[in-house]
Symmetry: C2
Amino acid sequence: MFNELFTPRFAQPAGSPIRELFPYLSRPGMISFAGGYPSPELFDAEGLREASARALTDGAASLQYGPTEGMPRLRNALAEHVAGRGIRCTAADVLVTTGSQQAFDLLVRVFVQPGDVVYVETPAYPATIQTLRLAGAAIQEVPVDEDGLDTTRLAVMLEAAPRTRRPKLLYCVPTFSNPCGTLLPTARRQRLVELARQYGFVVVEDDPYGELTFSDDATEPLYCHGAGPAGACNPVIYLSSLSKTVAPALRVGWMIAPPEVLRRCAIAKQTADLCTSPLNQLIAAEYFASGRYLATVRHARAEYRRRMEAMVGALERDLPGRVRLVRPKGGMFVWVAHDAGVDPQSLFCACVEAGVLFVPGRAFYPCNPDPHTMRLSFAAPGVDDILEGVSRLTRAFDAALAVGVEHAL
Amino acid sequence: MFNELFTPRFAQPAGSPIRELFPYLSRPGMISFAGGYPSPELFDAEGLREASARALTDGAASLQYGPTEGMPRLRNALAEHVAGRGIRCTAADVLVTTGSQQAFDLLVRVFVQPGDVVYVETPAYPATIQTLRLAGAAIQEVPVDEDGLDTTRLAVMLEAAPRTRRPKLLYCVPTFSNPCGTLLPTARRQRLVELARQYGFVVVEDDPYGELTFSDDATEPLYCHGAGPAGACNPVIYLSSLSKTVAPALRVGWMIAPPEVLRRCAIAKQTADLCTSPLNQLIAAEYFASGRYLATVRHARAEYRRRMEAMVGALERDLPGRVRLVRPKGGMFVWVAHDAGVDPQSLFCACVEAGVLFVPGRAFYPCNPDPHTMRLSFAAPGVDDILEGVSRLTRAFDAALAVGVEHAL
C-alpha cells in the first residue's frame, strides 16, 4: 500500500553514491580512499571523556531539552572560536545545528521551492546535490579550476541568465574544497561577493575543512569579505562543523547569518529536531573551555599533511602522465583526473579487485559528469596504507588499460 | 536582500505558540504548567554518567560518523525494548532518528507534497501541526472525545471524502495523548486499523508517552493491531523516543516501519543530518544494557501519577463546575475545558499576573480552535508547586470573571 503514497521525488529515490560503496569496504584487506571520515586516531578521546564527565555533572542542564537556537555557552564559545578565523560576530549570530548538513538543509527549506535556481560549485559534495534534488531545485553547475570556483565563468553565467533564472543561492566550499581540495584566492573571494551583491543571491560558504590548513598562510573566510561597511548586508551565510576537527559523533555544526535568516531557520529546526543534543553541545563547550582544541587541530593538520604528501608523492611517482591532480593546500581530499583512454567502470572494478577503493568522480556532478575523475581521501588511512593503496591503484590502471585494449581489438 | 528570497511559506512564518511563552517563564516565582519537559529530578544522571563513560571507552566507534539507519547495538536494543510493549520486530525494522520529531519530519518529506490531505487527531501537538503546515499539507481535524480519537466520526469523514481528498497519513498519539492524556480503547484501535486498510492511508502512531502508564493494565500499541496475519501490510508506522523516559538531551528517537518506508526515510535522513549522534546512541545502548532503565521508568510512573493526582484533585476541589477534565491514565498532561463565560485572553493575563503559566488551548488546533481550553502539564513542577499553582489559577479565574463582568456592564 505504501508505494502508491510516496511523493514523486521519493517514488524511486537514488541513494548516496558513496554509501553504495559500503559493501566493498568490508572486504578483507581493502584499503579505502573512499570515505569522507576523519581519522579516528586523531580524536582526542581522553579530552572528550573529561569534557563529557564535566558536562554531565549538571544533569538538569545537560540532560534536558535546550533552546532551538543552541545552548548559550556553546554559542558564546563558537563566536569566540570563529574569531580565530577572522569572523567578527556575537553568540546571537550563531545557530547551532545537528552537523553542518542540517544547516544546509534548513537553508534549503527556508529559501528553495521547486524550480528555484541554485548554483553549485562543481564538482560538489554529493549530499549537497541530493538535498537540492529532493527539494526540487533547478541546479546549475558553476565550473572550477585549480584555484576553485571560476568567478569569470560565473560572471558570464549570471550575465546570460534572464532575471527569472537568476540563482537564489550559490553553494561553495572555498577553503579546501570537497572534493577538489582547492583554496579560492582572495581576489576571487572578493569578486564572488561583488557578484552576489550585484545579482542579489546568497552565497552559502560551507567551511568544515577551513581549520585543516597545511601552511601558515591564513585565508580569511568568504564571510569576512562579505561583511563590508557597517549596515551593509553580508550576502554570505557561513556554515561549519566540529565533525572534521573534534568528532563527527557530536553532530555539532553551526550557521552564522543575519537575524531574519536565523529566525526562520530556527522555526524550520523546531520541525526538524527541536534542538541539537544539549549534552553534545555542552561537551563541545567544555572541550573548548579545556583549551585542548588548538593542540588537537595542530596535530590533525600535521598528520593530514603527512598523509597528503605521501599520497600525492606516490601518485606522481607511480602514475606519471596518467593522472592529473592539484596538490591540496589543506583538507582531506585529492581530486584526480585520469586519461580518457581508461574506462572508468573498468578502472573501478580493477581497483576493487586489487583491493583499493575510491569514489568515482561522477558522484560529484549534479548534471554533466566527467567520468574520468575520482576522489581520493588521504585522511583515514595511514601512510603505509596510502603507499600500498596507490601501488594497487597503479596495478588497476594497468589492468583497466589491458581491458580497454582487449575491447579495442 | 534576504527578504525577497525566502519561500512564500517562510516569508512571515509563525513561530511555536509554546515558545512564545518563554519570556513569561523567567518571571520570578512563576509556576509553569506550560512546558512539555519531563522532570529533571527524574533523570538518572548517575546511570547516564556511567553509560557515557562506557560508551567513550571505544572512542573510534563512539566519536566517528555512524550508519544513517542507526548504530547496530542500539537498533538491537530498541527491538528488544519495544518487545516489552508487545511489538515484534528485528533491528532491521528500526530506524534511529534525532528525536521522534525527526521521525515525523522524515515521514512528511517522504509522503507529503503540497496539497496532500493529512488527518490529524485534534487537539494535537503543535510541532506536528507546524511540520505539516510548512510542508503545505491540507490538514483536516479528526475530533476526539474522552477516549481519544473518535473512530465513528473518522469513518463518516472518510466515507464523505471524494477519492482524491482521502488522507495519505493520519497522525495520532493513541496512548496518553499530548495534549489530552487520553488512552484509545482497544476496540477503537482495531477500528482505526480497519479504516486505514479500507481507505489506504498510513497511521502514524506517535508513542513518546506509552511507557508512562499510571496503572498495571497494559494497552498494546496500535502497531500491534496493525500487524495482522503474516504477509499482510501493517498500515501503522510506529514512532517513539527516549526523551520522556531517559533524557531529552540524548535526542534519540526511532521509527518502526516496512523496509520500503525505512529505505526512503534513511535517504531523507542523509540530507537532514547524515546520522543521529553515534555517541548518544551508544550511551542509550549502554543504558539499556545496564539494566537501570526499568527502575527509572517505574520511578517516573509513580512520581508523575502522584503529581497528576495532586493536580486533578486540586482542580476538582478548587474549580468545581468551572472546568471539565478527563483524569489522565498516563503521560504528562491534563486537558482542561473551561466555562465559555471566561474570556480566554483575560484568563491567560490574569494567570500571568497571579504567577502561573499554561498553554492556551488554541495552540493545539490546526484549523478550528476551541479557545476555552488549556493544556496543563503536571510533569515538571513538584506537588507543592502544583497545589500553589492551582490555587493561583483559581484566583485568576475569579479575576478573569470580574473583568468579564466589567466588560458586560
